[in-house]
């Protein structure tokens, strides 16, 4: 029970000696009875252990470095006087990118920590290797990239040149040419027969719905040479006048 004397030491006394024990300034019989009490007491024993652990944790904390601009800011805020020595140091050590880096660091920290893992590093390495091999095989040189003209007119010209080159290259490939000629032949074979001009005329006649008289045929092709002529009209038929009356009702 707490407060009960154990090994000649009460819990309140133990508490008072705790700091000295942790600071290692407790010696002699007091230290012995302190240790004995800590071993026996269910309250003071864990308290001692926890306090000791806490002290160790705190001692493990390293001193933090103040920002390089701090001293400069303090001097400006207090005296308005900008020390040349401090200003030079602050300028030399801090850059404009520092605050941006400070913002971005927490955002990219998980990604960076993940990418540092061996398996991801290996994957990135392989990907880079593959890409560089592909570019080398394609004939792309990194040094050429520097000379690329990025003006809009130049980009347009480059685009048309490249397109023309690709089309020309494609059409000149023997394999493509052969395939195209085969396809043309196949189409010719499988396409339906082309109708004769006579049939075309007949179709035209049948389809004539305009009501206009057909143009006069110079020759009767349906008539054979040895077929008897049953009746015929003179070449110049009599011309009669036809009057049409329109009903105006």
């Amino acid at each position: 029970m707490a407060g009960e004397p154990k090994n000649g030491l009460q819990c309140a006394e133990f508490d008072a000696l705790l700091n000295e024990a942790l600071d290692a300034t407790l010696t002699g019989p007091k230290l012995e009875s302190f240790k004995a009490h800590a071993r026996v007491c269910a309250v003071c024993g864990p308290l001692f252990a926890e306090a000791d652990a806490g002290r160790r944790w705190l001692k493990s904390l390293a001193e933090v470095e103040p920002p390089v601009t701090l001293m400069h800011n303090i001097l400006v805020a207090t005296t308005g006087y900008e020390s040349q020595r401090v200003a030079v140091r602050a300028k030399g050590e801090a850059s404009w990118a520092d605050p941006i880096t400070g913002w971005l660091r927490p955002v990219f920290a998980p990604v960076l920590s993940m990418s540092r893992q061996p398996r991801f590093a290996m994957s990135f390495g392989m990907a880079f290797f593959s890409l560089s091999i592909s570019l080398s095989l394609a004939g792309v040189k990194v040094s050429d990239v520097r000379h690329v003209d990025l003006r809009p007119s130049a980009i347009k010209r480059t685009y048309y040149e490249t397109t023309g080159r690709v089309v020309k290259y494609y059409e000149n490939i023997r394999f493509v040419y052969e395939i195209e000629s085969r396809v043309r032949e196949f189409k010719k074979v499988t396409a339906p027969a082309v109708p004769t001009p006579k049939e075309q005329n007949k179709e035209k006649k049948d389809n004539n719905t305009s009501g206009q008289p057909e143009p006069r045929q110079e020759r009767n092709y349906s008539q054979g040479e040895n077929q008897p002529v049953l009746a015929s009209l003179p070449n110049d038929p009599p011309v009669g006048t036809v009057t049409t009356y329109r009903r105006l009702s």
């Binding site: 508490d15 008072a16 705790l18 700091n19 942790l22 308290l47 252990a49 926890e50 306090a51 000791d52 652990a53 806490g54 002290r55 944790w57 705190l58 001692k59 493990s60 904390l61 390293a62 001193e63 933090v64 470095e65 103040p66 920002p67 701090l70 001293m71 800011n73 303090i74 001097l75 805020a77 207090t78 005296t79 006087y81 020390s83 401090v86 920290a109 998980p110 920590s113």
Partner: protein
């Protein structure tokens, strides 16, 4: 020449309007004050603002410093602590934790601090994997009540003796020792709980 004498001379020069002496004082103490502010306030940004405020206050009240009444370091730490108290009162943390100057109630040990203080930190497993041990301890330190936090910071991080801490905190030495012990034990419990969650 002893350090106290050097500082006393610097202060005299500074009060007389010597800007270089003031620069020397800032050079000597900015690191220490920044560290106290950083460990108490938790973030570098706040620590920077608070450190600047401390020096502005020091600059204005430097003439009131009496060499006979105590070490310059204790005086500087007292100013820092008072500003931290003001900052703490203004900040939102005031709602969830106890005030620095409130007298501890009789039943304050009835509930462990780990249960009293809301854990707003990200999931423990995430923080353990991504942060260094130092950051874990720093995070746990922010969960201590301000009265325990300031006591352990001054003792274990600034290596001040109990007498000076008592002067700065304006409480008896026995109270300082008790707060330090409770602060250390509470910190260990918080860290053990964090590690248990990770495991």
């Amino acid at each position: 020449m002893e350090d106290a004498q050097v500082v006393a001379r610097l202060v005299r020069r500074c009060v007389a309007g010597d800007v270089v002496a003031w620069e020397e004082i800032v050079q000597r103490y900015n690191r220490r004050i920044y560290n106290i502010c950083y460990r108490f306030a938790g973030s570098g940004e706040n620590a920077q603002d608070l450190t600047q405020e401390v020096f502005i206050k020091m600059f204005r009240t430097l003439s009131s410093y009496d060499v006979e009444r105590g070490a310059f370091m204790t005086w500087v730490t007292t100013i820092t602590r008072n500003l931290l108290v003001d900052h703490f009162r203004k900040s939102k943390q005031d709602r969830v934790t106890e005030s620095l100057d409130t007298t501890p109630s009789e039943h304050e040990d009835a509930m462990p601090l780990s249960e009293k203080i809301e854990d707003k930190a990200p999931a423990a497993d995430m923080s353990v994997q991504s942060r260094e041990t130092g950051e874990l301890v720093h995070t746990a330190l922010q969960k201590l009540s301000p009265e325990l936090r300031e006591a352990v910071i001054l003792r274990d991080l600034q290596d001040m003796d109990y007498k000076d801490i008592a002067k700065v905190l304006k409480v008896p030495e026995g109270t300082v020792k008790s707060r330090i012990n409770r602060g250390r034990a509470e910190l260990a419990r918080l860290l053990q709980r964090t590690y248990r969650q990770v495991m």
